[in-house]
Each structure stands twice: as structure tokens, then as C-alpha cells.
């Protein structure tokens, strides 16, 4: 928003000096109008939700709604965090060797395997949920523990973790690994001390994307969650369905939104400039 505002401020005096509306001025007006329309369309719902979450009984302002979130919905947020953390660990442990194999070693059917691994990106959540329910229920009997849910999340977000790491590895010249090996490092030392730090931006991008998806995932969770585990998004939906939309529910939704924002901000704070420059070199 601030970026759009400053553009207007610098563009306006320059065009005001001209006589009559030039074509360029028209384009200016239309494009600024478009930006504000987009902001209105995209920001309004969230602003309304934020406003509603702060509404007390009888239409008064109430921060108590958020205290209620930490009390009554604390368990739901805790489940969401636990599922997210376990999923990220499994995703990362699976994606690092997979990405390394895909980028550094030639093997038959490489393209086909990479395409198959990224399949969950294009499959609707309901289809993933249903197929996992079938598989886990009848094959592994996993639906009664948190692990069924975690595995389901890992399947859905694996490509989000894998792709940024693959890209980061492809950008990393082989010469660093060769130099490390010639200096006497084992493969594991080379990976831990050279490769992993240098693909850090890709790894953290994968972690951020996966966290946001897992933390907010509703549809797949609905299919595979055990009856004693209710994550935050599930709780929001259950409450809206059974009790209607209460300000406390809105407060939970806002909290989730803020946690997702925080994840993105943290990512850009730690890796932002390096990642945006597209280079691991400082």
C-alpha cells in the first residue's frame, strides 16, 4: 500500500505541469485506479473480519475475543503447530536427498519421477484427502493417530518443499562441491558445511510455503484427522457450521492469518534480500 502511495506522490507533480490530459496521464489514472480497486477487493474482506473480531457483545469494542482465542482455542492452535512442525521435519528429510539426486545424478526416468513427485500440486485437495483416507484406513490403519494426518500433509506439501530446493541446487555451481572434495571433505561434510548453507534460501522458501499450507489446511485435514484432534482451521469451520459466525471465531481466524503473515515476514527478514537477488553470494 505504501509503495503505491509513494508512486502517486512522485508522479503527480510532474504530470500536472502539462497542459490538458495527455495519453500518458490517462494511463496513469487508469492504472492507479486499478491498483486501488485491487486493494479494495482483496483487503476489504480481511478488514471486515478484523473489525468483526474486535466486536464485543452489543456492538462494543472487545479485545477479550483474543484472550478467549488463547484460552479456548489454544488447544486447536497447538495441534496446528504440532502437525506443521512434524510435517516440515518429514518434508525436509525427504526432500533434501530427493532434490540432490534429481539435480546431481543422471538416472533413467528422471523427468517422469520429478513430474510424479510434483503431482500433488495439481490434484484437488478433496481427491488427495479421499485417496489418502482409503490408503491409510485400509492399508496402514493410521487414521487414529496424529501420524496419519502428518503423513497426509507431507504428501500434499512435498512438492512445495522439493521445488525450491531443486532450483537452489541447480543454481549452485558444482565447483564448490568439487573444491570441498579435493580438500579432503567427505560427501557428508561437503553437504553439511558447503551445500546446505548455500541452498539455505531455497530450503527456507520450501519451509515457509509448506508451513503456510499445512497450518491453514482444512480440506485434507477434514478427511484424515482422528476424532480427538481438531486443528485451528477445522475448529473455525465447525464453529461457523454449528454456532454461526461469532466474533470469537473471527478472532481465531484473524490469529491464524497473523501467524501466516509472521512466517512470511520472518522468511524475508532472514533470507529476503539474498533470495530475491537469486544468489547465494552476499
Amino acid at each position: 500500500m505504501s509503495a503505491a502511495g509513494s508512486t502517486t506522490a512522485t508522479a503527480a507533480p510532474r504530470s500536472a505541469r502539462r497542459r490538458g490530459p495527455s495519453p500518458r496521464r490517462l494511463v496513469d489514472i487508469v492504472s492507479h485506479g486499478y491498483i486501488w480497486l485491487c486493494l479494495f477487493v482483496f483487503v476489504t474482506p480481511f478488514a471486515a473480519l478484523l473489525g468483526y473480531s474486535l466486536t464485543g457483545p452489543g456492538g462494543t469494542y472487545a479485545i477479550q475475543n483474543f484472550q478467549y482465542v488463547l484460552g479456548s482455542f489454544g488447544e486447536n492452535l497447538f495441534w496446528s503447530f504440532r502437525v506443521s512442525a512434524l510435517t516440515l521435519i518429514i518434508d525436509l528429510l525427504a526432500a533434501l536427498p530427493a532434490a540432490y539426486a534429481i539435480v546431481r545424478y543422471p538416472f533413467p526416468g528422471k523427468r517422469a519421477i520429478f513430474s510424479a513427485l510434483t503431482l500433488p500440486l495439481y490434484v484437488p485437495g478433496a481427491v488427495i484427502g479421499l485417496s489418502l483416507l482409503l490408503t491409510y484406513n485400509f492399508t496402514y490403519h493410521l487414521t487414529t493417530s496424529i501420524w496419519g494426518l502428518v503423513l497426509a500433509m507431507a504428501v500434499g506439501t512435498f512438492p512445495l518443499m522439493l521445488s525450491p530446493i531443486v532450483v537452489a541446487l541447480k543454481d549452485l555451481p558444482l565447483v564448490f562441491e568439487e573444491a570441498s572434495e579435493c580438500l579432503g571433505a567427505t560427501r557428508w561434510q561437503t553437504f553439511r558445511k558447503i551445500v546446505f548453507p548455500l541452498i539455505g534460501p531455497g530450503v527456507s522458501a520450501g519451509l515457509m510455503l509448506s508451513f503456510i499450507i499445512v497450518f491453514n489446511e482444512y480440506l485434507v485435514t477434514l478427511f484424515v484427522h482422528p476424532s480427538d484432534i481438531t486443528t485451528a482451521p477445522l475448529r473455525v469451520f465447525n464453529l461457523v457450521r454449528t454456532a454461526g459466525l461469532a466474533p470469537t471465531t473471527a478472532a481465531l481466524a484473524v490469529t491464524m492469518q497473523l501467524i501466516s503473515f509472521a512466517a512470511v515476514l520472518l522468511f524475508f527478514r532472514v533470507f529476503g534480500t539474498r533470495y530475491l537477488k537469486g544468489t547465494y553470494l552476499l
Partner: protein
């Protein structure tokens, strides 16, 4: 410190031959250069010595130890790449200490060695910097310090100066030579730059299309090329095809490599006195090579100083500063003649006939002069 021996080392990529039956002995403390055009297999050979590429055939020895099946980390080598390849997230000191730290050396021992290496390459005090805060030349010196820190048996250089600008190349190549001499390390150095190879090498291996063309000293390679490829790849050369008309002398020195044979060769209307390390008989087809700077413009009375004197017309004069290049038509061929830049004032195009004097030409058999042009070598 170590000797290096390559025995029939071969690398094939499918049908493509990268290196064929490569034999080489490098003495302890010697600096040998692999010189050749891009795609000649010199880098592939170096990477096989390092263990970064597995040879299809042949064995590689450091001293008496067969290292062919060892991974790079067990060969104790120092490999300097085209780019400095410093680890960008580690400080200069951590880069230099990397090889010791992965071997589990103590921190204070590493720190002392790092200081020693920084002083050796003239970068004392630069330890805390990150590689990105240093110039290209400084980075390559850090890369040198990094490989020397582990006290390797063999130093391997893969065109380490090609990414630097010209002035830096000149100073750094002598730094490399100086460090190699001071540490008395055996070194193998890959380059496509003739002047670089001539400046630093004990011996030069000229390679072409995966094969060794000639191994020898700078003067051997320059004045006594054994193949057409070497004669034309190293510097400019005039090539004159001809036939042996008479054998003038054949000495019988015990060492066949040092024997000198003298011939009279006819090439078109010209009759030329030639010499060669290789024997030939009357009627053999040969190619005579003549360096542009070996030809001199003869003034009256000077003729006796030269074994050969021919007459020609100056077609072009190209002034290049320290030298001037003449194109002289002799009989039905054009010879390039390099004279001192000041001579240009007395010579001009269309001035008429000049006489060119030169001593015995180096000849090689015509079949050895058939060369694969650098551009025809598969990449």
C-alpha cells in the same frame, strides 16, 4: 611431494574419445604444463589425475601408489580451478582452514597454519574478510593458499588465470611459479595460452584431439616441432611442402633423439637446406617450417651469413609497433617475415625485390604434418 605417472590413461564418452592412451612421467618438484586448444582433452586429463573423473582405461600413480580407484579426498591433492571457487559463506580464514578442519585438526593449529598461508600469498590480515569483499586476483591467491594449507602431494591447476584480466595474469603466473618453487611441489598446469605455458613450465605437453603431440622443453616445442599441429599451434609459422632431393649428412650421435640430419629439399622452384631430428631418404615428401622471425632481409654482402637466400617481392607491410610484418611473395608462395619495427622505414610495398636469408629449416615428414584443425575437434 611426489612423482606422478600416467600409464595409457584413456577416457571415452560413448563413441567420443576425450583422451587416448595418455602416458606421462612427472618428476618430483617438476612443473609440467598441458597445452592445447579447447576440447583437446587437457582438462579431462587433469580431472582424472584429481579423481574428479574416472578413466575408462589406464592407471594413475603418485610415487609407487596406484591412486586410480581413490576418490579425490583420499589423494591429497591441491586443485586450483578456473574460478577461485571460494566458499562464499565462509571467511577467507575459514576457507583456507577448511581442508584442515574437515580432517579434524585442532583449532589453534589451524589458525597458525592459516596465518602462515596468508603471509605466504601476501594477504596477511585479510583472514576475517568474506570472499566477495576481495578482488578476483586476491581471491585466486586465497584459493592457492587454501590448497597449499593441506600440504598436498601434487598441485593441479586448471587454467587458473583465464578469468582474470591481462595485467593480473602476468603477475599472478609468476606468483604461482614462485610458490611452486618455494614449496617444491610437483605441479601439473593446464592452459591454452602459449605464453603462460612458456613462462612457467619445466616441460610442456602439447595435446590435440585427445592425444599427445609432443612433450619437450620450450625450445624443443618452438624450434623443433615434431608434428604439423605443434608447428602451427605454437606461434606463427611458414609451411613449405617439398621433396627430399639429397641427403647432405646424417650424424651418428648415440642418442637418437639428439641426432641431426641435413637434407636438400626442393619446394617448387626453391631449393632449400633443411635439418631434422628424424631421418629421411631421397624422394620423401616433407614439410619445412620457417618461423617469421628467423627470416632476415639481406643487404648486399650479407649473403654468406645464411645457408639459404631467396628473392621475393614485398606485397604488404603491416606495422605492429615493436615489429613489422612483411608479406613477401617468393616464387609462387607468400612468406610472412617479421622484422624490427624500425626496419619498416626502409621497406615499403611495391619497392621491388628483396632478398631473404635464413638458416636450415626444420622439416617433418608430410604424414606428420596432417593435422586436425582445432576447430574440427569435437567439444
Amino acid at each position: 611431494m611426489s612423482t606422478v605417472r600416467l600409464a595409457a590413461v584413456t577416457k571415452h564418452y560413448g563413441q567420443t574419445v576425450a583422451v587416448e592412451e595418455f602416458d606421462l612421467d612427472v618428476a618430483d618438484g617438476e612443473l609440467v604444463t598441458l597445452l592445447g586448444p579447447s576440447g583437446c582433452g587437457k582438462t579431462t586429463t587433469l580431472r582424472m589425475i584429481a579423481g574428479l573423473i574416472e578413466p575408462t582405461n589406464g592407471r594413475i600413480f603418485f610415487d609407487a601408489e596406484d591412486v586410480t580407484d581413490l576418490p579425490p579426498r583420499k589423494r591429497n591433492i591441491g586443485f586450483v580451478f578456473q574460478t577461485p571457487a571460494l566458499f562464499p559463506h565462509l571467511s577467507v580464514a575459514d576457507n583456507i582452514g577448511f581442508g584442515l578442519s574437515v580432517k579434524g585438526r585442532k583449532k589453534d593449529a589451524i589458525a597458525a597454519r592459516v596465518e602462515e598461508m596468508l603471509a605466504l600469498v601476501g594477504l596477511a590480515g585479510y583472514g576475517p574478510r568474506l570472499p566477495a569483499q576481495m578482488s578476483g586476483g586476491q581471491q585466486q591467491r586465497v584459493a592457492l593458499a587454501r590448497v597449499l594449507a593441506t600440504d598436498p602431494r601434487v598441485l593441479l591447476f586448471d587454467e587458473p588465470l583465464s578469468a582474470l584480466d591481462r595485467n593480473l595474469r602476468d603477475t599472478l603466473k609468476y606468483s604461482i611459479l614462485d610458490l611452486q618453487r618455494r614449496t617444491a611441489k610437483t605441479a601439473i598446469y593446464v592452459t591454452h595460452d602459449q605464453s603462460e605455458a612458456f613462462a612457467i613450465s619445466d616441460r610442456i605437453v602439447v595435446m590435440n584431439a585427445g592425444r599427445v603431440e609432443q612433450i619437450g622443453s620450450q625450445t624443443d616445442i618452438y624450434l623443433r616441432p615434431r608434428t604439423g599441429f605443434v608447428a602451427e599451434f605454437i606461434g606463427a609459422n611458414n609451411a613449405l611442402r617439398g621433396t627430399v632431393a639429397a641427403v647432405e649428412s646424417s650424424d651418428a650421435t648415440a642418442d637418437p633423439a639428439a641426432r641431426e640430419h641435413r637434407f636438400l629439399v626442393t619446394s617448387g622452384e626453391l631449393s632449400l637446406h633443411c635439418r631434422s631430428r628424424l631421418p629421411a631418404t631421397v624422394g620423401d615428401a616433407v614439410v619445412a617450417y620457417l618461423r617469421p622471425e628467423e627470416l632476415a632481409v639481406v643487404e648486399d654482402g650479407d649473403e654468406t651469413a645464411y645457408r639459404n637466400v631467396v628473392e621475393g617481392d614485398i606485397e604488404r607491410v603491416i606495422f605492429e609497433g615493436p615489429t613489422a610484418q612483411l608479406r613477401v611473395r617468393v616464387a609462387d608462395r607468400e612468406l610472412r617475415v617479421d622484422v624490427g619495427g624500425s626496419r619498416r622505414l626502409t621497406l615499403s610495398e611495391g619497392r621491388g625485390r628483396v632478398r631473404l636469408g635464413f638458416n636450415d629449416l626444420n622439416v617433418i615428414p608430410a604424414e606428420a604434418a596432417v593435422r586436425v584443425h582445432p576447430d574440427e575437434v569435437p567439444a
